[in-house]
Symmetry: C2
Subunit: 147 residues, 2 copies
């Protein structure tokens, strides 16, 4: 098993980041403009639709202001059964977000792409929370021929 | 051992990316403005100096237009002995760069930071080659309280 790891620091309170990760409005503001479902209850289903496809996630762990964890239940074959994990901690003037996309079976080329793409979306989330404006799909940063 | 993986697609010829990875001028245009040394010979030493510290790399593999590999010989303790690997391949109108920072002993929090930071520098390299303008240190994208 191999994992994608990222860290961003956001100049905002943990609760604001938690909102960006658990509400359809928040998620639509930095990841997929077409986000539906319920992210604020354990067992809730979140549906993300992109120009190039989509993902369904089940919310499997939630601690307000501290932790969010999803299981991928629909999407590209490489993603199904993997987990997306968000840990939020306060450090001086920043709130630090530790991100993991865990449980890839193999480090396939698509994983390299997703690693870079996740970085751009985490910076989109940071921008949304700090300035009110993110860069969600379809206005996301294009990184390669896979978008 | 754990690895950082990234993928970017650059609208340019492989030789242009190879130049950005093997010349002090190229490296200074997207990574560290203060870059010295020789990146175009196996065994060459490259010295990168940042606001927050620096790295020395030894060039250990080179295939023009295809492959560049460095070994970290000075820098933060977590980096020493790790390898930075660049594979360049042509795909349609893009040249694809597969990046690995290989051989981290543990997935420490600094690795999460470096993963996100590498993504921003790879996009800086893409921008340099495509437009002539990158975002090297000290004008780099700030991602968190570690810079």
């Amino acid at each position: 098993m191999v994992n994608i790891l990222h860290r961003v620091g956001v100049e905002a309170a943990p609760a604001e980041i938690y909102t960006a990760l658990t509400t359809p409005e928040g998620l639509a503001g930095w990841w997929a403009s077409d986000t539906r479902g319920k992210g604020s209850d354990i067992g809730g289903l979140l549906q993300f639709r992109f120009v190039a496809g989509g993902f369904d996630m089940k919310v499997v762990e939630l601690t307000p202001g501290e932790h969010v964890r999803w299981e991928v239940i629909e999407g590209p074959a490489e993603w199904i059964g993997t987990h997306i994990d968000w840990k939020i901690t306060r450090a001086d003037t920043y709130t630090v977000v530790l991100f993991e996309h865990e449980g890839w079976r193999e480090p396939v080329e698509f994983m390299y792409h997703c690693s870079t793409k996740w970085a751009t979306f985490l910076l989109s989330m940071k921008s949304l929370v700090e300035t009110g404006k993110g860069a969600p799909d379809p206005h996301d940063v294009k990184i390669d021929d896979w978008n």
